[in-house]
Symmetry: C2
Subunit: 102 residues, 2 copies
């Protein structure tokens, strides 16, 4: 499996608008996507953290060419001030990945 | 909701043994726990990262008094060299939290 945990920083005052776009994209059923969890940050009103788990790095790469993701990136870009920490992971299992293997 | 993403560092060579304990604990059905996803780190053979989503911080606190968690901590402690980054989060939604609100 392939996982990512990363920080996105919204333009001041734009976090909730950015969040709405990200939640919409999470609703699109992406091939090989197991988890796509959007979080805010109690210590930073402009930050959004996303935890993602995918069947493979290739599935994640392929998702970036998905129509819904291209539309998301276009809509979200003006709302994004920058990016913060980013961690690549290998999801192993646990609650949320029951019945998934890879 | 209440979320955590944090790093645990195993004693050298003990990561997989520690992982097995963590996966067992994830199997216990904890009140108010939505996600408990265990990850290894492609860049650090001793590291484990856990993403957790809970109904509330109180549910997370209460879980630490759960028999299965107390047993886990006792079993895992000798295998843990230390802890790394830890992020407190507010999960909002997305795939993996469908149908959950709070």
């Amino acid at each position: 499996m392939y996982g990512l945990f990363g920080k996105m920083i919204a333009q001041p005052g734009k976090r909730d608008e950015l969040l709405a776009h990200l939640m919409n994209a999470g609703g699109a059923d992406m091939e090989g996507n197991y988890l796509y969890v959007v979080n805010t940050d109690p210590n930073d009103p402009d930050a959004i953290w996303i935890y993602e788990a995918w069947r493979s790095a290739e599935d994640h790469q392929a998702s970036l060419k998905h129509e819904a993701v291209i539309a998301l990136i276009a809509a979200a870009r003006p709302l994004i001030a920058g990016f913060g920490e980013r961690f690549e992971l290998t999801p192993v299992g646990g609650k949320g990945l029951d019945g998934v293997s890879g």
